[in-house]
Symmetry: C2
Subunit: 526 residues, 2 copies
Amino acid sequence: MSENNGKQFINGQRVAANAPTIESINATDYQPTGYLFSQATLDEVDQAAQAAYQAFLKYQHTTQQQRADFLDEIAIQIENLGSKLQEVAAQETGLPLVRLQGETGRVTGQLRLFAELLRRGDFYGARIDTALPERKPLPRVDLRQYKIGVGPVAVFGASNFPLAFSTAGGDTVAALAAGCSVVFKAHSGHMATAELVAQAIEKAILNSGIPSGTFNMIFGSRVGANLVEHPLIQAAGFTGSLEGGMALFNLAQNRPQPIPFFAEMSSVNPVIVMPEALNARGEKVAQDTVASFNMGCGQFCTKPGLIIGIKSPAFDQFVTALIDTTRTAVPQIMLNQGTLKSYQQGIDALLNEQGFKCIASGQAPELISQAQPHLFQADQSVLLSGNPKLQHEVFGPMSIVIAVDDEATLLNGLEKLAGQLTATIIADESDLPQAKELLNLLTRKAGRVLFNGFPTGVEVSDAMVHGGPFPATSDSRGTSVGTGAIERFLRPVCYQNTSQVLLPDVLKDGNPLHITRLVNGVLTQN
Amino acid sequence: MSENNGKQFINGQRVAANAPTIESINATDYQPTGYLFSQATLDEVDQAAQAAYQAFLKYQHTTQQQRADFLDEIAIQIENLGSKLQEVAAQETGLPLVRLQGETGRVTGQLRLFAELLRRGDFYGARIDTALPERKPLPRVDLRQYKIGVGPVAVFGASNFPLAFSTAGGDTVAALAAGCSVVFKAHSGHMATAELVAQAIEKAILNSGIPSGTFNMIFGSRVGANLVEHPLIQAAGFTGSLEGGMALFNLAQNRPQPIPFFAEMSSVNPVIVMPEALNARGEKVAQDTVASFNMGCGQFCTKPGLIIGIKSPAFDQFVTALIDTTRTAVPQIMLNQGTLKSYQQGIDALLNEQGFKCIASGQAPELISQAQPHLFQADQSVLLSGNPKLQHEVFGPMSIVIAVDDEATLLNGLEKLAGQLTATIIADESDLPQAKELLNLLTRKAGRVLFNGFPTGVEVSDAMVHGGPFPATSDSRGTSVGTGAIERFLRPVCYQNTSQVLLPDVLKDGNPLHITRLVNGVLTQN
């Protein structure tokens, strides 16, 4: 790290009024890693927001090509960090190096996908209604609409994806692609990782000739709230707990000027196993299910926390296989001490709750930082009564299996679930005739419905939705993964009877950007 | 009116536990029109929301063609109401028959435009990323996204457009097009008008075979709050005052499950007159400006309430022409007694505020229900200090003119303005080189920027934006006029590895609906 280690990133400078006293902690042994950070002052939060606003005034006028090149350059600079990035991230989060290598690829892939999106140009949503001077009873004026960035965006790093949902993660990329500047609040769980990535972004800013305050980063506790309340911040993206998300959401809505606050929060991601699939391959499904809820130590927003099927001998065998596989599951290091404590509290709460019982546990932890996998079984009454304990996300390597009497009970029970990021149906061809009503129900409940896979893989692509009805997110109309994520930070503006000289290229006659536009009700590249 | 006059419209039935005691009032003489309405009970609000929810479960699965036909049928049924509709609306609102005839055309045109939008199919935002089983290091699954309705929507009628922003107005049509059911809260200022239009919608529901609870309407005070707090309501559209809008917005955000609440509220719609335009045609601009702020008795959300130019002899002449024209302006009937009272309070507040003076008044009212037009002049200090009185919308036939020292002062002053629905630049060709920075500034402030026209004409088309930064609306990402209005009530859902048998037609291989879709990053109709 440089001599500036631990200072805020503001307007291309490193700034810190406070001494560096916040310690980066090793996730494995809870000892300091040696990296220290300064708590941002209120004045520094203000400086960061001001810098973002001043940069926005220029950055919003960059061309789509300039922004695409900038995102590509960030990807290169992140690659240039080399293995140091994964090593530091592994220290701070306890995640395995191979996972962090994959996550780095996801970050750079995501940056390049958004660059493609920018070059494609349909994110502008360009619409042109040309003048109809002869129309009766009234002539029509010339109207041209496109989408522009809402302004400076506050982004909150998630603990569980120190790269892909953090400093240069999905929300940051979506905001930068939209033409918005960013103030990023570094997560306390991986500040040194954030520092490295921020340095890469700063280099990309310099290399690309982008305004220096386009990206800013602050460290510290409570500064997130200050940031959300800052009048120059115009939107925010968050990934984290329901409690944390709603606290910030409420601040955002209760400002003198409310702002869009997209929080991705809580989901138990039900998996429904259909009878014929269980008959055909129950044991394999059980193994894959256990692998999915243990993947990344169960620290995925899309971890399948609820497994439901209809009572049958095949389902009993499936549960037996879940138990057997869970018992072989190895303990893994959790992201930090707080996360492990929350996990253990969540497990204890279920152990003490009527209708739930722990039916299998994985191997015992060998390190103080490891979590033991657990499998619970719950009565169907817990589902049918809408018991909030069932719907409370326990972040970590556990899941709950429920057998229901019949299909009607299954549908009744699922109807009681709150909004979800994902819902999964494990089905064979012969199950499909029974799956239609189930699919309709789950479509109302979730942002993504998947068949014969597990929700823990979240592809970054145009068609992905990582969102869903509350409490999965604070606004079901958004996604935080995939190119659709840009929509959260765009607003439409309409120019009426505006001279060609003054119009942006995207709306000019002759379509100089060669993008698809809706012209007089017809999608065209002309 | 039928014998059921005054009861709630719930699930295709007329229901009222309370006696009809709320009077419809004639806007001209403040006497009862004779139509009486029943205050909805809390139980009736619940019945309406339940009916909307049950209908949504079916209505959401109607095809785009079925919904398009339904909207067309509503237009026909509204036309079938004949001149009775405008006569009743004229009684209740004091608006001239010819205006209400035009507004009826706007309503039916809007319904048919949304039917076109549905048939075009791009509102689905269909995106397909096909599986890449050979991709390294990980295969890609098949992902298909489209947009679906968020659920039952609460819609609030606006006082100033008893047809176009009311029962079958922009918000209702956008929600119905999105596949959402509606509970409409009738505005107390035109309940008999609302009753007629609701009857037309009910006929269209019957004729089109649409589920009976797809549209519901309730009467009464405070029921709007009950509606927004009802757990089955999933979004809301509102047009009205800042106070009313924010009260409901706060309820919507503080529910256990917050919901999107799109409120179109407050805007002073600045008009900037450029030097060369004034030199060339100052007197004509003055006449048109006065006509615009008096149109519809100044009761448009887009009324130009602020006129700004740079000091010059031509600007002085322009102000003189504004004064002369204002003095000839005739008084018109306001929508209701409350609106007139608010207008007079707004005028009184300006008369008592330092920095403002009334420089012209129109002809004196002859009826108790008429408003007198007024023109104010304000010091530039009022603009530069961001005086909230200047930014407070005074709903009615008035405007404020300000002369500023120079272009820099103009830009500084405009920077102090809050968000606007519209901003207007009156410019000649030779003004355009100076207009670029102004345009950039106004683009940040407004949802629509227009040249050489007046904002009071709001075309209903694909490219229109009737929205803008707070407090113009509660969310700058939406529009309540034009086909873009549908976006507010749609959310994306993604199907992963889903069988062709179960996929909706919009996402099937072979594109059976022949719509434009984004397939593997390419917009195509294949």
